[in-house]
Subunit: 342 residues, 2 copies
């Protein structure tokens, strides 16, 4: 039988209000009383009832801000859907969600967007931080003023953000290498990188090399170019590579530019070339179902959005299961048949 605040209050000879104050460190309470109450609660293994708390919290809501560089980036569509799904489930529990979208990577703009969310009185921020000291400072000052901050999809070092929801990008790269090795352990691989500046892209490449070196000595990397996540540039560099190195029979695409790569393969290659890439935005799905992409490694964006919101809520109601601050989704390998109904 679960313990309630009422029982603790009786045992400690205080009122329920006082127990609440002690348990949540709301202050304005004699230290010895606080200690006594906490001890009793601990001994009894007190776990606050989430339903009751939610109901009570209906009067002052938890407002979560979600800030994403999602404009013109369909990857985030599913992430937003996931966040909205979580919000829908938690609306009954007094949770509000404000989604703020921006375009691309501009530090100054990101700071401004955060300020805009702060004006709307958010109690928690989930966002995809750009790797810059200004952002770190911003995070820390929010934490100081009692606003919870978690990072989504990308993390940032040395800040006081309380948790990160994302994926292990190095593992993504390792799995990509495993898939490539399975398809052809003697592949001649062209690597089409995205942006050198993105940690996630660098990790996908280092994870790839780890596995290639340790497990697939027959694989030969015969080109390493960069698309800057641009489809036309990707087309161009792929075309040139295919011309210069006709032995290429496998392309590993690390970032965006997938349609460009596939177009170049269609037009300039005479033999079968396997393509392995990341994520499954609509464009990618189409290229999978036409057989132009052999496999894609997905990072469960829907789950990321869903988890970001629910985790903020769990932290808010003090229910975060002491899980590590790194909450990582699995990397999911998908092939053509994964997208087909049977």
């Amino acid at each position: 039988v679960p313990v309630t605040i009422k029982e603790i209050a009786e045992l400690a000879n205080v009122s329920r209000g006082t127990v609440d104050r002690a348990l949540h460190g709301r202050g304005g309470i004699r230290p010895d009383v606080e200690k006594r109450i906490c001890t009793i609660a601990e001994q009894l293994g007190y776990r606050p009832n989430t339903a009751a708390r939610a109901l009570s919290r209906l009067r002052n809501k938890l407002v979560i801000g979600l800030l994403l560089p999602s404009i013109d980036n369909p990857f985030f569509d599913d992430l937003i859907l996931g966040a909205q799904a979580a919000h829908k489930e938690l609306a009954d529990h007094g949770v509000e969600l404000i989604v703020e979208q921006m375009h691309g990577f501009n530090i100054q703009e990101q700071v401004e967007r955060i300020d805009r969310l702060l004006e709307k009185n958010i109690n928690a921020l989930a966002f995809t931080p750009f790797d810059d000291s200004q952002i770190i400072e911003k995070i820390n000052s929010m934490i100081e003023s009692g606003i919870n901050v978690i990072t989504v999809n990308s993390d940032i070092n040395d800040s006081k953000r309380t948790a990160h929801v994302g994926v292990d990008f190095k593992k993504s790269g390792r799995i990509a290498a495993g898939v490539i090795g399975l398809i052809n352990p003697r592949a001649n691989v062209l690597i089409v990188g995205g942006s050198q500046k993105l940690l996630s892209h660098r990790q996908r490449i280092s994870g790839f090399y780890e596995v290639i070196h340790s497990r697939f000595p027959g694989i030969n990397v015969c080109g390493n170019v960069v698309s800057n996540d641009d489809h036309f540039l990707a087309f161009d560099v792929t075309r040139k590579s295919l011309y210069n190195r006709p032995e290429i029979d496998m392309i590993y695409i690390v970032g965006d530019g997938i349609t460009g790569v596939c177009a170049a393969v269609r037009e300039f290659s005479s033999h079968r070339i396997d393509v392995v890439c990341f994520d499954d935005v609509p464009h990618t799905k189409r290229l999978m179902s036409s057989g132009q992409i052999s496999a894609t490694i997905c990072q469960q964006p829907f789950q990321q959005g869903y988890t970001a919101v629910t985790h903020c809520y769990h932290q808010f109601i003090g229910l975060a299961d002491n899980e590590s601050e790194h909450i990582l989704m699995d990397n999911i390998v998908k092939i053509r048949e994964s997208f087909e109904d049977s």
Copy 2:
């Protein structure tokens, strides 16, 4: 702003109790009043607050029985863990979970186990039904007496069970074929079937053939044997097949017996043989990390257990999102690197 029972009561000029009775068809209410209330609720888009309902329900619990043929079958371990995780989250909402385990496939025993759960006053049953008319009758009689029944992992036709949580096994087979075709589009495949009696195993094979026929004309099925889900029998039939058909370079394992197949491959084959199978019980994981299995198609048992419990709860509180009665998990392709931390 969400509508509450109180507002509906005021608009309908009745008490909150009456609104509750009308909305949940508890009877003992004048039909015209009931209709009036329901109309108002609909117009206002009333959605009951789950937190309040959960809190109130704390006094009379929802007891869910989970019955599985899980003894000596490690596949169900994760499913049970998932169910328990859901139960833990919902304990605060007045949900109780009773797990009843049995060994293998005996219809009479399954009926008895159900009766045992009924004696414990379950309000809902989630179970893996055996395909038999006795079971269908049992299900229907439970539904008649107001006990919700859903099927987990296997479904059963023509019964009144309200939902099925599982996976699309035909799609599993299609994906397996896709993986095999990716590894080697000219493979000489030995199919090691599990049990002919299990619909799931038959579907995995028919899905496989669909894709092989339509997409991989170069693949040659050169053997089709059955393990009866027994490791020793699997060892034996594999050994014989490898002896008779030395060209075999790919094995598709549909059911259990995986360790037997791999042992036979280790001992009796001189060349590389790729193995593709289903699920990731500990034995399978070990064979993956030693490279003896190339890929496995997983059906997310943890999610199945988790979803079974939460779905019973959602149905109980009338929140089941009108989702189809078929709640299917994705088939997840896993390779060696999927199981390694980076």
